[in-house]
Amino acid sequence: MQTLDFVDTTILQSGVEVGVHWYWEIAGVTVHGQLFVVIWLVTLLLIGASLLGSGREQIPKGWQNFMESVVEFTQDIAKNQLGESFYRPFVPFVSTLFLFIFGCNWAGALVPWKLLILPEGELAAPTNDINTTVALSLLVSIFYFTAGLQRKGFGYFKRYIEPTPILLPINILEDFTKPLSLSFRLFGNVLADELTVSVLTLLVPLFVPLPIMVLGVFASSVQALIFSTLAAAYIAEAIE
C-alpha cells in the first residue's frame, strides 16, 4: 500500500490515496474506522427521513409526499423484476439496498469530507472500500438462497441440473460469480469516480473537475439502481 506523493499535497489539499485507512481496534478486531463514521451517518439520515415521512395523513403533503414517491420508485424496482404477484415480501430488502447504496454514494460525492482531518486516511463514500460491497453482495447471495429454499423447499436444488445435468459445474460456479461481479462492479465504479476526481484536482484544482464530479453523482445513482435491480433479478431467478 502506498501513496502517490510526488507533488506537495499540503498546498493543493488533494492527493491520490488508495488503501490508507483509519484503523480502529474493537475487541481485538481491526476495522476501518472512516467507513463506520459515514455508514452511521447515512443510516441515521435514512432512519430520520423515514420517521419524518411516515405520517398518517390521508392526503400526503410536504415531506410525507416526497417519501411516498421515493418508496413508490423503489417498489417499482422489485415489481419490474419479480412480477405483480410475488414482489411484495421482497420490497423491504430491495428498497433498503437501493436507499443505503444511494445514500452512501451521494454522501461520498456531495459532502466536502476533506475539511475534516482524520489521523489517517480520509472520509469518503463507504462503498469505495471492497469490504462494504462484498458484505452487501454476500447479503444478496444469502437472501436469494434462503428465498429459493423457503419457496420451493428441497426442490430448489433441481435448478442446478436444468436444462441438462452437464451444466451442473457452470450452475454452481454462477453462485460464486454473482456476488463477485456485484461487489466488483459497485466498488470499481465508486472508486473510479473518486480517483478521476482526485487526479484531476491534483492537476487543475479549480473548475476543471466539476463536470466529472457531476458525472460521478449521476453514475453513482445509476450504480445504486443497478445493484438493487440485479438483487431483485437474482431473487426472481431463485423463486421462479
Binding site: 500500500m1 488503501g19 466488483f184 462492479r185 470499481g188 465504479n189 445509476v222
Partner: protein, 82 residues
C-alpha cells in the same frame, strides 16, 4: 519495489484497462445506435428506451471496471511488492 516489477506492473495496468475498454466500447456503440433507431421509429417510447439504455450501458461499463480493479490492484496493492 524492484524496478522490473514496477515497470511490468505499470505496463500491465495500462494494458488491462485499455484492452478491457475495447469490447464494452463496441457494445455500447451498438446499443446506443439501436436505441437511436428505436427512438426515431417510435418517438413516443423515448422515455422507456432511455431508461433501459442507461441501465444496459452501466452493465457494459462494469466490464471495463473489472479491468480497472485489476489495474488498481497492480498499482496500489501489488502482491509481488516485497
Amino acid at each position: 519495489m524492484d524496478s522490473i516489477i514496477a515497470a511490468a506492473s505499470v505496463i500491465a495496468a495500462g494494458l488491462s484497462i485499455g484492452l478491457a475498454a475495447i469490447g464494452p466500447g463496441i457494445g455500447q456503440g451498438n446499443a446506443a445506435g439501436q436505441a437511436v433507431e428505436g427512438i426515431a421509429r417510435q418517438p413516443e417510447a423515448e422515455g422507456q428506451i432511455r431508461g433501459t439504455l442507461l441501465l444496459s450501458l452501466a452493465f457494459m461499463e462494469a466490464l471495463t471496471i473489472y479491468g480497472l480493479v485489476v489495474a488498481l490492484a497492480l498499482l496500489f496493492a501489488n502482491p509481488f511488492n516485497t
